[in-house]
């Protein structure tokens, strides 16, 4: 385990072996939870994506990699675009390899007679309840208690754009610096989907465009560069 801890924060490549389970004696073996980018190969933990190895106490390891393509995973909140209505379900494009299904009953207050008002081309923020490699993904717009909890159809007046998955994860951190910096500029509404799609809306078209462009470009900027850009922008706008 010590060798793995040493490599936290370093770049790892596919094929790198992190631990050799056979080397450690029986008593000393700890439990190690493999996150995305790591897999178990008999007794070893092998890296399968290139990126930086991260660690969270007590024993969770994962690889932070930059990626654009979304692979559906259960429990994630995603922004989908409704592409078709067929019978009782909506077919929603979430950016994965298959279209996901969303039953019309999976909305708050929806019954067989009271259908939700969803048109083809609408944006829907929903959660994946079934998402594995063998089945078609399924979405719902209600949580386990039957409440919408922020999910459902949305989107009038805002702009949708696509970013990499790494940036989305950075934005969804509890104390995201990017959000805090942007907050100080001007108020705006934002919906972040784990499939790399972001929707923003601000008071005017100009402001919405500024926020959108900033978010797209702050992927490759360091904190200092971002603050610098924001400062210049706020001086120009005010």
């Amino acid at each position: 385990m010590s060798s793995t801890k040493e490599r936290v924060g370093c770049v790892v490549l596919p094929g790198d072996v992190l631990t050799c389970g056979s080397e450690l004696p029986e008593g000393k073996r700890d439990k190690l939870i493999c996150g995305p980018g790591l897999r178990r190969d008999v007794d070893d933990v092998v890296v399968c994506k290139s990126g930086i190895l991260r660690h969270k106490e007590p024993n969770l390891y994962w690889v932070d990699s930059q990626q654009t393509r979304y692979v559906p995973a259960k429990g994630e909140g995603v922004i989908g675009i409704v592409t078709a209505k067929s019978g009782d379900v909506f077919k929603v494009d979430i950016g994965g390899s298959e279209l996901a299904t969303l039953s019309y009953l999976a909305f708050e207050g929806a019954t067989k007679r009271n259908r939700p008002n969803v048109q083809v081309g609408d944006l829907v923020y929903s959660q994946l309840i079934i998402a594995n490699k063998d089945m078609e993904p399924e979405l719902v717009c209600i949580d386990s208690c039957g409440r919408a909890n922020g999910m459902g159809v949305f989107g009038a007046g805002g702009l949708l754009f696509k970013v990499s998955l790494g940036l989305v994860r950075k934005l969804l951190l509890p104390q995201s610096e990017v959000i805090q910096d942007l907050d100080s500029m001007f108020p705006f509404e934002m919906v972040v989907g784990m499939n790399g799609r972001i929707w923003v809306k601000s008071r005017s078209t100009q402001q919405t465009l500024i926020v959108a462009n900033l978010l797209e470009s702050c992927e490759h900027m360091t904190t200092a560069q971002r603050r610098d850009v924001l400062r210049r922008l706020s001086q120009n706008c005010l």
Binding site: V11, L13, P14, G15, V17, R39, V46, C48, K49, S50, G51, I52, D64, S65, Q66, Q67, T68, R69, V71, G96, S97, E98, K133, D134, G166, H220, T222
Partner: protein, 228 residues
């Protein structure tokens, strides 16, 4: 390149004073539409690769337990011919062995390679750029792979990473795909006549050369993630 036949009696193999790989460079994520893209430059040979996947697949081509891998190699001038098809097969077989396709059943992974300039060692340049593109797309891989080409000239010297001129003047050209975990040969493609001994020597030399290429992969990925 100078040939130094040391003690011809004792040594079966001819030595080269030093073998060099040409200068190489790569750029990742240079195209905005594909999920992963990379361009690899070896001397003057340049190849650009775009990769899409795991994406939707036609029902006729889908596979219930793995991702369907498709490779398209486009030459610069003219329509693709038999040579391109055979290279596509080599690349496809190497990628199938390296990518974890069982994690994405009923999807397709499409690799499109465009030859920008061919100055020798084309197949190995294609393999290298395919590996970098797969890394850029974040596809799950079992191991990395790299391509190395060597040519055996009329005197029996083994030249590493030959240019087009050197390839034309040599009697055999061999390309190997080597994996990163155990440095084993994943794929070999040869053209011309050579002895078994020369074959083994080429493999050993290419395995050595693969070390530098894997180190290059590590350095370039390290540079890419240096800001986060």
């Amino acid at each position: 390149m100078v040939c130094l036949p040391l003690d011809a009696g004792a040594h079966k193999f001819r030595h080269m004073a030093d073998r060099r790989l040409r200068e190489f460079g790569c750029e990742q994520n240079l195209l905005s539409r594909p999920d992963g893209s990379a361009s690899f430059v070896q001397g003057d040979t340049t190849v650009v690769v775009g990769i899409y996947g795991p994406a939707e697949v036609k029902v006729s081509k889908e596979s219930y337990d793995r991702a369907t891998l498709e490779v398209i190699l486009k030459p610069k001038v003219g329509l693709p011919g038999v040579a391109e098809r055979s290279r596509e097969q080599f690349i496809r077989e190497t990628c199938e062995a390296a990518l974890l396709t069982a994690l994405h059943p009923r999807t397709s992974i499409v690799l499109i390679l465009q030859v920008i300039h061919d100055d020798g060692s084309l197949l190995s340049c294609c393999l290298n750029s395919a590996c970098m593109a797969a890394m850029d797309a974040g596809l799950n891989m079992r191991c990395l792979f790299c391509g190395v080409t060597c040519a055996i000239d009329l005197d029996g010297n083994i030249i590493l990473d030959p240019t087009a001129k050197q390839e034309k003047e040599s009697r055999a050209v061999l390309t190997f795909a080597i994996d990163s975990v155990e440095r084993q040969v994943m794929m070999s493609s040869t053209k011309g006549a050579f002895t078994t001994a020369e074959f083994h020597q080429s493999i050993a030399i290419c395995q050595k050369a693969a070390e530098s290429i894997f180190q290059f992969y590590r350095d370039s990925v390290g540079r890419r993630y240096s800001k986060s």
